[in-house]
């Protein structure tokens, strides 16, 4: 029987899709960050593999998005609708599923944060990821300190690996999430110079065209009182973090390329970064900079090379189903993703979605179909027909965010953008009567095609 390929999944944290140098032609506006950084290793993956421009985070914040990547289920289904919640124990993660169905050796190194308040797994004990062995790396929440260790340890591991059975390995990088600490709220403002003290001048990215915008923005601001210089210093350092991440990616590609057997490499990120667009830092919100993430598959000789797919919609949810097909096993029950194997290898689009569905936190939904993106923020009804969490005793409960407040729940809100004509999301069409038909069409699609398929997960405390 033919050996199935090794699988290496690489996940970054807070990396927007426009941070890959190879995409400069696709994101031609000079404010996109791909014009301000160099990513030879990402470029190598893009040139040697199949990547997507319509790649969406399933829920643009760490734990929910990661729970989807490792289960193939939406965050409402994994029960992880916010950070620091454990995955519903009835929903198998990738390690558990591969342990049950394959002889793959399963190894994890680096950031997990897909269930529980802990970022990095231990080798044993309550903070070991079910189904995975652990290379113990990760002492705090900074990529600056940990990512070099993750890439170094995993590189050695992959080069050394000589077992007969294939491996399923995951490298979880923290960067460019470190940029969170560049915001004054988190680090007292000590990491962003107030002026251009390093004389970087025009080497710094400009402010984006949607830095200022006019529509009524219902989301928490998550912005700072940065001056223009501070914003540009912030963007400059974010680009350098991407370049560091690129070096870490390169170490892993070197290791894979040095092996004589086949390894499927999938790279993605959990969510994007505000990057001054809509005056925002970080994520949480449904704008493009928060939702769109890289998704690259690489296996020279097997996967089509140099395909940058701008037509098909994918998200982290598709990774579980895809790696299952590569491992020649069925996906777990109720997986919502599609296997992309036939698309990668033969260009067969039969299994690929023509729209993307995403959640943000527990009450926001995004549907992106064709040129239009529809955003709905529910007003919590208190009934289980609207976003909620299900507890282990079977009862339903209104979700309380870690801040203890209902951040989005004061009123229902809708947004509608024509991304083809308005890629920077400057004009909210939801209040324009000329678009009421489109609004209704997408609202119906959300209700009938998506919400009815969701099987709510149980909020499981794994801390």
């Amino acid at each position: 029987m033919k050996r199935t390929p090794n699988i290496l999944i690489i996940i970054s944290d807070q990396q927007g899709i426009d941070t890959i140098g190879a995409y400069r032609e696709k994101f031609s506006h000079e404010a996109y960050l791909c014009h301000w950084l160099k990513t030879p290793n990402f470029d190598k993956m893009v040139a040697g593999g199949y990547s997507f421009l319509e790649s969406h985070s399933t829920n643009p914040v760490c734990c929910p998005a990661r729970s989807s990547i490792f289960t193939g289920r939406y965050s409402t289904e994994t029960g992880v609708t916010f950070n620091n919640i454990g995955i519903d124990k009835n929903v198998p993660n990738m390690g558990e599923w591969f342990e049950a169905k394959t002889d793959y050796y399963r190894i994890y190194c680096g950031k997990w944060h897909a269930g529980g308040e802990w970022n990095y797994p231990d080798a044993e004990g309550t903070r070991k990821i079910p189904g995975f062995e652990t290379i113990p790396v990760g002492v705090s929440g900074t990529g600056d300190f940990n990512d070099f260790q993750v890439s170094g340890a995993m590189k050695n591991y992959i080069i050394n690996y000589a077992e007969e059975k294939p491996f399923l390995a995951v490298a979880g990088f923290m960067n460019p999430h470190d940029i969170c600490y560049w915001t004054p709220q988190l680090f007292g403002g000590k990491l962003v110079p107030e002026t251009d003290i390093f004389e970087l001048g025009s080497a710094r990215p400009p402010l984006p065209p949607n830095f200022n915008f006019n529509f009524d923005d219902p989301f928490p601001k998550q912005q700072t009182k940065f001056t223009k210089d501070e914003w540009q210093n912030y963007l400059h350092d974010y680009c350098r973090m991407i370049e560091k991440l690129d070096a870490d990616l390169g170490r892993l590609l070197d290791a894979v390329d040095s092996r004589d057997d086949e390894t499927l490499v999938i790279f993605t990120s959990d969510h994007g970064e505000g990057a001054a667009r809509h005056k925002r830092v970080q994520k949480w919100h449904p704008f493009e900079q928060s939702v769109k993430v890289p998704f690259i598959a690489y296996m020279p000789g097997k996967i089509k090379q140099n395909v940058v797919d701008a037509n098909h919609f994918v998200s982290g949810i598709d990774i579980m189903t895809t790696v299952c097909e590569y491992a020649a096993i069925p996906a777990p029950p109720n997986c919502k993703g599609r296997s992309l194997k036939r698309l990668f290898e033969k260009g067969d689009t039969k299994d690929v979605m023509d729209c993307a569905y995403a959640e943000f936190q527990h009450i926001g939904r995004v549907v992106h179909k064709g040129d239009f993106k529809y955003v709905k923020i529910y007003n919590y009804s208190g009934l289980p027909d609207k976003p909620f969490i299900r507890l282990e005793d079977g009862k339903y409960e209104k979700f309380q965010s870690c801040a203890g407040s209902s951040r989005y729940e004061t009123s229902s809100n809708m947004l509608l953008f024509n991304l083809k004509e308005d890629p920077w999301e400057l004009i909210n069409l939801a209040t324009n009567p000329n678009y009421s038909l489109k609004l209704n069409e997408l609202d119906l699609l959300l209700a009938e095609e998506w919400e009815k398929r969701i099987i709510p997960g149980i909020h499981f405390d794994r801390n």
Binding site: D122, V139, N156, I159, N160, D178, P193, A247
Partner: protein
Amino acid sequence: MEKLQSRRGFLKKAGMTVCMSQLSMLGWSAGFSAIFSEGVNSSGEFSLLKLEKLLSGYKFPFIDNFSTDSFSSVYKLYNLYGSNSINAGDLSINSAVAGEKRQFNFSVSRLANNGIKSQKLNFKYIVSGDVLCQNNEILSPQKWNISSKISISRDNEAFNGTGLKYEGENKNGEIYLMTSGKLIKKAIASIPLSWKWGLMAVVQNMAKVSLHELQFSMLDEFDTIYQNQKMKFRKKVSLDCGNNHLIDFNVFELTGDGMIPTVYWIDNLNRCIFVVSGMEAYVLGV
């Protein structure tokens, strides 16, 4: 006067003058005689503000003299996460002149994980090795032998297949990285190559000899090349290094691909005392 006395090996404190040789008799190392005073004032400098809490208790390592060619330096690595600085490892660098070459050996140990808590094991990521460099102004690496591993100490086995030895060579800008005789990587350094830990020696020499800007590629520890690096002299700053001991520092900045602007603080003996970059800092100890 007080500054002069400290340079000559005397410390005047509370009306009492103590000679270095007397301190040696009390147990201080005669070869690397050091006197400590408490606290360094950041003087509002951007790169040092991040270290303020740490610097308030820092004992500045006063010594008599320092050779920028042959030296042994030990740094503590701090991770500036949140409001506290976590001592997360250490770095030792030894430099010796060998004819027209410079021979370094280094070892850097980073706290990796609290690991198996029930067994109270703290894992570390340990990289160590020898680097032979040209003795030029950027100390271009020629050959290096490096080992890296996750382990609980430098002397213990690597954890679960995470240990490996690498041999590297720079042939006129073509970089070859091998392990057990197998080529792992070939890369091109677009402009003359320096290397990460060698930069501490580079800036020490810059402070001593010439302040002109240097441009180079940088080998990061052992296997990755960052292009377009620029080391630039920024300014001179006097810092109160405890008990009103003012020390003049030359301040250098490193910028380039993949580099959060990094600030090097070089003291009046041309020693690299602080290196601060983003959320990471290296602080000279003894």
